[in-house]
């Protein structure tokens, strides 16, 4: 089959010398790496390695004591999540964070809020430009629903859905922001093989069709090695390795971190 090689672009986000501690606990120590445009980057590491903390830092949820993050060449010292969102960084959470009582459609629609130009009053009136705007947004949402193949649960309250589908809805909400950089925190945790395969396909399709850059945390090594262009390994807040899946797999430090080292 003639596969087209995908082109990975310039640096989209640059992390330099990030250190983060909570009291005496050092969660991240002097971490530096880059996320390049259009790539799928996986961040892996044992439990407590600082993976989620890293995403939270990129996302502006945590504020590192040291180091800088520059996004599209623009350095930022202190970042708020909503500013990150406005700049085009969207994320999903390890423990699903959806509005359980709201329908799939409404949940995904919330991802669109930042894109709405009319204020609350206009929307309450639902007339003229506000109505047009709502229709445009709804069309966009419907494309996501179609993309993620969740038409059948469009009107179902999210709390009634099985876990795998909730994860998909959460991805839908992140996509509704039309992000440039998508952060996925364990998108496949707790899924069965079939659900994982579906999710992999969606992630690859998002990356391919929309050109979205993706950084994801994942424990399933098979998945990571299959879909990512580059892998970063963290352990106890330090960066162990950074490279193509095959290089990382062969790296002695990584093998030691995962399998343990003999102490004699």
């Amino acid at each position: 089959m003639s596969q087209v090689q995908k082109t990975i672009g310039d640096t989209l986000l640059k992390v330099e010398g990030i250190s983060l501690s909570f009291g005496g606990v050092k969660a991240l120590a002097d971490i530096s790496f880059e996320i390049k445009q259009h790539e799928i980057l996986a961040i892996i590491g044992p439990n407590g390695a600082g993976k989620s903390s890293m995403l939270n830092v990129i996302n502006g949820f945590y504020h590192p004591q040291e180091g800088t993050i520059s996004y599209r060449g623009e350095a930022r010292r202190r970042m708020r999540p909503h500013v990150a969102a406005k700049q085009g960084i969207a994320r999903t959470f390890q423990n699903i964070a959806l509005f359980k009582g709201m329908s799939t459609l409404d949940n995904i629609m919330t991802g669109r809020l930042l894109k709405m130009r009319r204020n609350f009053l206009w929307q309450a009136l639902y007339w003229g430009p506000a109505q047009r705007e709502e229709t445009e947004h709804r069309t966009f949402i419907e494309k996501i629903i179609d993309f993620l193949e969740i038409q059948a649960i469009r009107k179902t309250p999210v709390g009634r859905l099985p876990y795998g589908l909730q994860k998909r809805v959460e991805l839908g909400r992140a996509l509704a922001m039309e992000p440039e950089l998508l952060l996925l925190d364990e998108p496949m945790a707790g899924m069965n093989v079939e659900e994982k395969e579906d999710m992999c396909r969606f992630i690859l399709d998002v990356n391919d069709e929309f050109g979205t850059t993706i950084a994801l945390i994942e424990h399933d090594m098979g998945v990571v090695m299959d879909i990512s262009d580059r892998v970063i390994v963290l352990d106890y807040g330090r960066k162990l390795a950074d490279g193509a899946p095959d290089e990382v797999r062969a790296d002695q430090h990584v093998i030691d971190a995962y399998l343990g080292v003999s102490h004699d």
Binding site: M1, T139, I145, E149, A152, K155
Partner: protein, 664 residues
């Protein structure tokens, strides 16, 4: 007995509408006569999109010319693979317009099955719905040397497919529009070339044994049968229908294609196969077909949801359903009913039946058919009691569907009706049902022996089903003729008849009965995960998997009672009393089409099941109380695994045969 029922000679030759003898001609006719009325709808991006007859003609014209530009020649076969989509229906008529022959293929076929049909039909073109089907086609392309061009409808995920034989649907149409400009009149000339007697379609039957066979139908077969159905039921251009059953199945071809083109009514395609129930409700069809298992699962869902409803609603539902069961069927049939009941029924209509039908999307149904398998009398009466005109019919691919239909006012749960217009029926000496009709197929493609076996020189077609005609002139089907066997004591053994009785219980999804050449009858049972799972939930019985649930002693007890009930019923019929089930077991896995145990239309493949589970059958006919089995299973993605289990064998009560009643 050689009773022939039906017209001895065709009394009236029915004309296709305005002399149109092919579907492309009918399309042009509809575009002229009702050009601005909707012909097709599809729910896309959450909204029902529609195309008028004129727009459909425009689309089809562009597609037909486009396929010609790609090299389609008169007589070429076009494989069509995918869910019910307007564009796939248009491919059928577009192929027919330029002399091609559409060959729809079941969309859930695995690659091997697909390769067989495409290779056997010698398809040069294929129209695939999406990436999933394209991937299957690419996998088998080497085995189908005749296949040259592949067109795809949905371009999702297809960006990196660079094979030069792949073309996107829109691209084909834009080439077609250019071709049409350069060759004005080409389309109309090509359409005019075809005649009613020409081949219109190959429909491959899934077949309970062996490889599928390609049933060749002419335009006349399909159009005349469709028109007969329309006249018989008084269908009009105002009907609404949801096309959701496989396009490769003859029923869908007649109902959603043949009859739609002949009567001019609009056909709607669901958003996806998972949204059918939602779409049904939004659409509110007036004309509806579903196999018994769908009516069954709808009823099961209703019952389960009523169990979870509030106290008042549940009471009301049960009270008014009792009223409906008492008099609803009679009211629908127009028989006299006491005024008190009539009043209660009217009140029930307001409070229960109306809202329930609305929830199911059945509010506007004027005509609903079921066929393919026997339907449980309780299920059948449930829908009729609600005021839904549900009827049974009997048909086959070889007949272009209609063989018998139940006429209004003569509806019974255990018959399949009287011969359809222009159909003659007789019963052979071995009990097999034979028929003759204008819908009789031309041949099985490339297999003259099979054709000769099924269709006799004087035009009678063997259905392979055993049945008899009752005193009321209605046909009753008991089993496949070849499956009817004998027990060692010489008495009749009709496995399907017994299995159907078992399957009428909501907890039993599938059953396979054995007894031919044996001393007594034994059976495999498949439990229904939804019904039994719901029971387990309500009674706080924990289970981890289907296998675990199926092995619970409580579940065995439920099934044992049902088997005993079936035995009680069988004991009342002197011919069948010796067919009572002595021993049974509950299978640890669901019988599955992917494992070859069921056909794609979910009929049990008896021989395969018997071979595969031989140790279990031996267990049933021994004194063993448990039996071990190790089976291969196929997962949805095609990988294989092994499943082993230790199954318990249950014994059921049997009853003394009732003495023959003396005629009084």
């Amino acid at each position: 007995m050689n009773d022939v029922v039906g017209p001895k000679s065709s009394q009236t030759t029915r004309q296709a509408p305005d002399g149109c003898d092919t579907f492309p001609k009918l399309l042009i006719h509809n575009a002229e006569k009702r050009g601005d009325l909707p012909a097709m709808r599809e729910k896309d991006l959450g909204i029902w999109q529609s195309w008028t007859w004129r727009e459909v003609l425009d689309q089809v014209r562009a597609l037909a010319c486009g396929m010609t530009a790609l090299g389609l020649k008169r007589g070429d076969k076009v494989a069509i693979i995918g869910d019910n989509r307007p564009r796939l229906y248009w491919t059928m008529v577009a192929a027919q317009a330029v002399g091609g022959i559409p060959v729809p293929i079941y969309q859930d076929s695995v690659a091997d099955e697909m390769a067989f049909v495409i290779d056997h039909a010698e398809a040069r073109f294929a129209m695939a719905e999406d990436q999933e089907q394209i991937d299957k086609l690419l996998e088998i392309k080497d085995r189908c040397p005749k296949l040259e061009q592949v067109i795809f409808d949905d371009s999702r995920g297809m960006r990196h497919y660079r094979q030069d034989f792949l073309t996107e649907f829109d691209e084909v149409q834009s080439r077609g529009r250019a071709f049409d400009r350069d060759n004005p009149g080409f389309f109309d000339v090509e359409v005019a070339k075809a005649k009613g007697g020409d081949v219109s379609i190959y429909l491959y039957t899934s077949g309970t044994t062996g490889q599928p066979k390609g049933v060749v139908l002419s335009f006349e077969n399909v159009i005349r049968t469709a028109q007969n159905g329309i006249d018989f039921e008084g269908l009009t251009a105002d009907e609404e229908m949801l096309a959701y059953l496989p396009m490769a199945w003859v029923g869908d071809h007649i109902f959603s294609y043949g009859q739609s083109y002949c009567a001019g009514f609009c056909v709607s395609c669901p958003e996806s196969s998972a949204t059918v129930m939602h779409d049904l409700r939004e659409l509110g069809p007036t004309y509806f077909f579903a196999p018994p298992r769908i009516f069954e699962s709808i009823l099961t869902t209703v019952m389960i949801r009523m169990e979870d409803a509030s106290w008042l609603k549940r009471k009301m539902f049960h009270a008014f359903m009792a009223v409906a069961r008492r008099c609803g069927v009679d009211i629908l049939a127009g028989r006299p009913v006491p005024p008190g009941d009539r009043l209660l029924y009217a009140l029930g209509g307001l409070l229960v039946y109306g809202p329930l039908k609305n929830t199911l999307g059945f509010s506007r149904i004027r005509l609903a058919y079921t066929a393919g398998e026997a339907i449980g009398p309780d299920i059948f009466d449930f829908y009729r009691a609600l005021g839904i005109n549900l009827k049974q019919l009997y048909g086959s691919t070889e007949a272009s569907v209609f063989i018998t239909i139940q006429p209004d006012g003569e509806i019974k749960p255990d018959t399949v009706g009287k011969p359809a217009p222009e159909v003659e029926i007789k019963i052979a000496d071995n009990g097999e049902v034979l028929f003759k009709s204008p819908g009789v197929f031309l041949e099985y493609y490339k297999s003259p022996e099979a054709t000769a076996e099924t269709k006799s020189a004087d035009g009678w077609v063997h259905t392979g089903d055993a049945g008899f005609l009752g005193d009321d002139g209605q046909l009753k089907i008991i089993d496949r003729a070849k499956d009817v066997g004998k027990l060692n004591d010489g008495s009749l053994f009709a496995p399907k008849f017994i299995e159907n009785k078992l399957k009428f219980f909501p907890e039993i999804k599938e059953a396979v009965a054995f007894g031919d050449g044996r001393d007594h009858v034994a059976a495999f049972i498949n439990i229904d995960l939804e019904a039994v799972g719901s029971w387990a939930e309500r009674h706080g019985v924990p289970y981890g998997s289907y296998q675990e649930l199926a092995a619970l002693p409580e579940v065995y007890e439920i099934v044992r009672e049902h088997v005993a009930q079936v035995n009680r019923d069988l004991s009342t019929d002197p011919h069948l009393a010796s067919s009572q089930i002595k021993r049974f077991l509950i299978l640890h896995k669901e019988l599955d089409a992917d494992d070859g145990e069921l056909t794609r239309t979910r009929k049990v493949r008896r021989r395969i099941v018997a071979d595969k589970y031989l140790p279990l059958i031996d267990g049933l006919y021994s004194d063993a109380e448990r039996v071990h089995i190790d089976t291969e299973v196929t997962f949805e993605d095609g990988r294989k695994g092994r499943l082993s289990a230790d199954l318990k064998i249950g014994a059921a009560e049997t009853y003394e045969a009732e003495p023959l009643k003396r005629a009084s």
